[in-house]
Symmetry: C4
């Protein structure tokens, strides 16, 4: 069962070989293992990176590091990484035995349109259920909206920065709105509608995909990870609220 | 508490002794421990291999490796493995202190009728609930069917191979159909109806057993594992959809 | 935060000091850690041994080993064990800093009335919910009953042994029946009704306690553990079936 | 991704450097890692300390140790701790790269008004759902109340001590009552209503915050942790009871 290819042009080796645990090629592996393990641990969220689903990408200086498609997340190695030049969009490194991730143009959209440095894609069942509940209760073009849940304070309000370059986060009395786009036969075909949603919702740090999952990005790996966790907490809570007949937006 | 027997004819020792982690005798143990641990971790799926339930088998060259019955999955050792000759169906190795798995003829069916090389059997509660919901809502002979869930793309479409010998996977707009057979008093008595279901559904890589669980196979261990994960994701999602009144097959 | 006392009469030291991982004093600690960890891992079942709830006891030759009350399960040490003489019911060892478990007379009942060698008590939420559903739907004196779930085959049918001293397990078409007793203010006051239930249900290997949890015993640690796992699987499945309007006993 | 600052006035180093695992600076880290890991493991409760939510504080002699805000719980180091003088309320130690926790005045309230030595704050989804169910079914000023669940015996009855200085715990037939306060835009603004609730409910060891979570304290770390676990068990069970139409307070 050889699933991690290592047949690749050796002169690109230096791009993924580093002792630094913070090097993106190492970080993606740590993150994928963590997600896989966490995934299996936190109740319904194992599916985030179940088997070979989901994915993640990190932008590091002039380079984009992308986890390959179809590799068991917990077995990912730095040498499995694809590396792309951010400017030319050309692959500086292509492990021969792997397929590039179909999410690549979507990850890239968060880097180019949002200046993000990390983008995470999951198949969270909570996200999928939210897209179905919103469609049925509010219509196909409605976004997911929720108010007055403490955890929304974990999501940035917009891209504005204060004097110290700090981002502002949503307030408890503000509204979290995540756009939902329709799924397509091929993941790369989501790119146009994802970019459209980014334009229609200039403040959003995430886009839900109907019957599919969610894309979440952040200024760095730490923020992308914690925003992904906070959103999944909110999606899960919202589904439980729906089961109990509790509205997402308090009347009063 | 001696539960792992090691009293066996020593001349079969070489069949299960290997330094290679990819050797099937080692792989089954890794898989069982992983499933057990994952099982305990991912919410409702611990039951997949709870206690001594479920099982797995690997076909390796001329040999079939089978985990014994009634052994705690997390404590399984290579020396606990049964080894059978694929052609003669004779045991090359029988740990005296263990019972052969009652699943053996079912595992074998996937190897002979489908040319699979790994077969996994679980008692997933999601699988059991699906078989009950389908029976009540669609009748005793209906299969489980679902459409337009991204994760079905993780399941092969059929056994056809392309020029490069690659298998095609279900498309997002295609329908996943898993046959359901009735349970029997003794597991081995499932063999005929399992084989019948394989004939009636020539494309399926899995068969659900009412009130019991599911059998999933694949071309290799990696594929069997990820297909098992993807199916369980879909079963779990489908149960949650049912709780929320969301149909498995969108009207439009 | 000293929670594991070690002030105890040293001449009883030999009772709990052993290099053998199978020695009961070590086994209970392993079991408690495993349960605690598993507990935290398997969805709703963490509460089985949450904090200081639940407990376990092993009968070993002339001695009974009992985990103390009020000790964090994951931090339990062999020196925390109480040891009682099976005949005289006198403590051979009492760690001064600990309270003996209030479950002691209940554990003892399974040893004396059932010749069990291990008894596990949990506060499984699934068990608690089952006792409430049975009371409401079938009345205060009804037992929990379920049929035709493959996993019931993991529960012994009665105490009869075959020629080889093997116990028979429930068949798929047979009925699992677990008596339910009312809870009392003090755990030790459950003893009479527990023993009454054991007499009224001479075949049962477990007794549910309303609004409290379950007691499960077995011929040895391995069997008590796997029977506890199988029952909790069944309790959890039965609660999910109830949520989905699926009857525990098929009509036909 | 440097998220754990270590730039701090070195002369405060001795406050957080200790080989003793029981030293509060080490205990908080152990606790946070444990909660994070457990969090990810136990089904819905990962959110307790998801990402950077929740927090904990320990009072140790004349000092208060407080985990910083916005640090990934699993990566917390002793050098990340804030240390405050209990009398003067002045910081003896402020890691420059961190923000003090907004929970500080709330933790402090449990130390000053209740003489607690450890306070834990979580965003448990079960706690959030309970606050919403109570508001809808019993009104905005109603507390959460439940009776006759064995696990309530894990919660102290009041602050009275017996001759040996032991605290009394709730009896099975007594009622657990946890006050609920309304959430505010800024966490520190909860202080007045939290203290009001402590006065209105002089026996309580916890306060729920609507749409936010819960604060739980104890005489020491061990008690705060197990009381937090017991309460979350009860919140989770109460939500499941509500789904199944089972009342929190038995009629008879």
């Amino acid at each position: 069962m050889t699933i991690n290819g290592s047949d690749h042009n050796l002169d690109s080796e230096h791009l993924v070989r580093s002792e630094d645990p913070q090097h993106p090629a190492n970080l993606i592996c740590t993150l994928c293992r963590k997600f896989y393990t966490l995934g299996w641990r936190f109740s319904r969220r194992f599916e985030q990176v179940t088997g070979t689903g989901g994915g993640t990408s990190i932008r590091h200086g002039p380079h984009i590091y992308i986890a390959p498609s179809g590799v068991q997340k917990e077995l990912m190695e730095p040498t499995d990484m694809f590396v792309m030049d951010f400017e030319s969009k050309e692959y500086l490194r292509k492990p021969k035995s792997h397929k590039p991730s179909a999410c690549t143009p979507l990850f890239m959209s968060s880097f180019t349109l949002r200046d993000a440095h990390c983008c995470i894609h999951t198949h969270s069942q909570w996200a999928v259920l939210i897209t179905l509940l919103v469609e049925r209760d509010f219509g196909p073009s409605a976004p997911f909206e929720i108010e007055r849940i403490e955890q929304i304070k974990g999501i940035p309000k917009n891209y504005a920065r204060d004097a110290n370059g700090k981002v502002a986060y949503l307030g408890y009395f503000e509204r979290l709105r995540i756009p939902i786009i329709e799924n397509t036969a091929h993941e790369e075909d989501l790119t146009d509608s994802l970019q459209q949603a980014m334009n229609d919702y200039p403040d959003t740090y995430a886009v839900l995909v109907r019957r599919h999952g969610v894309y979440v990005w952040g200024d760095n790996v730490h923020k992308a990870k914690t925003q992904c966790e906070s959103l999944d907490y909110i999606f899960q809570l919202a589904v439980e609220m729906h089961k109990l007949g509790l509205p997402w937006m308090p009347k009063d």
